[in-house]
Symmetry: C2
Subunit: 244 residues, 2 copies
């Protein structure tokens, strides 16, 4: 028996073949053959122990032997909405690390002071899938297309609390970690949506607009963080406050 | 008045000139001239508001106008000892992010399952200095040369608690964040030393050796983390537990 291999297969339970890229990896790189064991992850809470039933250069069919329901590791949904940095590499590592640590959804914001106005979410999606496999996550985080700040604010609904991190001392800010550690989850639900601005911060009008739409004003602490570090810190604090 | 510029100058209070590299940056890149304001950071708890007194192509002399004592943002010292990853880029970003978030010392361990047996600490030092400037930290984290695991364990002394993170289910593990959040700092001091192993983990003998030398057995949680993500998580948790 070869070392167990993990593949990301959306709808693994109803499909019978690995997606094209995964098939190439399975048959050409790992040289899996009929009868070899493999593990499928559907990104929706299930792993499957399976067996290769046909392996050609381009195709890899499988049969599921066992369904392995995954346990949730944190309560509620953790949703990060962030203004992407000019340097895409910084967003990519943040997406990888946030996936390893554990979160549910990422959105990208086009803000007044954003240096980056477009974003290839397909690259982020690939990096997240790779991290999901590497860290064996039961659920694949959702990646949303970039949206204008005001559109996001107006259309953001979750079952819990919504926060905006910013650096304006003239607007009172609660400590984010204290706020999410103490909140009455039975009243407000466990979901967290947290907004992180561009390197030049949100504009003060953007902050006020968010506050007028049910967001709470918070700070991540005393440290002066780059955007991607702030995003990752927000995810890690959410994870620590919501883990089960 | 030009935008305030920050320079790392060890012993800034007794020196009168920027170090060679900083001088080139100040005079050739930023084109600072006599009378321009600059800020010096000594990495030991002091910033200095200063003024350029002489600027040539290679030299930049200054006079200090005001001493600005920095406040500590966390209690005790946070010391991360980690087995470096094969890919140096991963260690470098971790060093950058840990500096932004805030920690005091980094050591590198040569372990049984280490993939990397040598390390250029001068590159890590440069990245940390750059992050200290960027995030305006009052203290520069200390960078130690790589040492064999057993040597580190035998010679590690701090005023607080020492922890080793590992994945062996047969050795009871406390939750790291809970342990450092609840510990009786008045009894044991505030310092934290935390060990993170290579991708293949510490050997079980290494874990037992550390436990026999006063280290406590801990886990960072349920997530399967890459080495550099585990290192950053340990720093972030320490920072959250020790911030003032």
């Amino acid at each position: 028996m070869k070392e167990a291999r993990y593949f990301y297969v959306p709808n693994a339970a109803v499909e019978t073949a690995l997606p094209a890229e995964e098939a190439v990896h399975a048959t050409r790189v790992l040289r899996l053959k009929e009868g070899d064991e493999l593990f499928l992850m559907d990104g929706e809470g299930y792993f499957y122990q399976a067996e290769v039933t046909l392996a050609t250069a381009k195709k890899c069919l499988y049969a599921i032997r066992q369904t392995l329901k995954q346990e949730t590791c944190w309560r509620g949904k953790i949703h990060l909405a962030i203004a992407p940095t000019k340097d895409m590499g910084r967003m990519e590592w943040m997406a990888e690390k946030a996936t390893e640590i554990g979160f549910d959804e990422i959105s990208f914001l086009d803000c007044k002071f954003s240096e980056r106005k477009t974003l290839r979410t397909d690259r982020i999606e690939k990096i997240i899938i790779s991290a999901v496999k590497q860290s064996r996550k039961g659920w694949k985080p959702t990646v949303n297309e970039m949206s204008p700040f005001h559109y996001f604010i107006e259309n953001c609904s979750n079952q819990g609390r919504k926060y905006i991190c910013h650096c304006y001392p003239e607007i009172a800010r609660a400590d984010f970690f204290t706020a999410i550690s103490n909140d009455e989850s039975s009243l407000s639900g466990d979901d967290i949506t947290v907004l992180v601005g561009p390197e030049g911060d949100f504009s003060i009008d953007e902050v006020r607009y968010a506050l007028a739409h049910g967001f709470e004003s918070v700070t991540l602490g005393n440290s002066r963080l780059r955007t991607e570090t702030a995003g990752l810190s927000a995810v890690m604090m959410s994870q620590l406050a919501r883990r089960v």
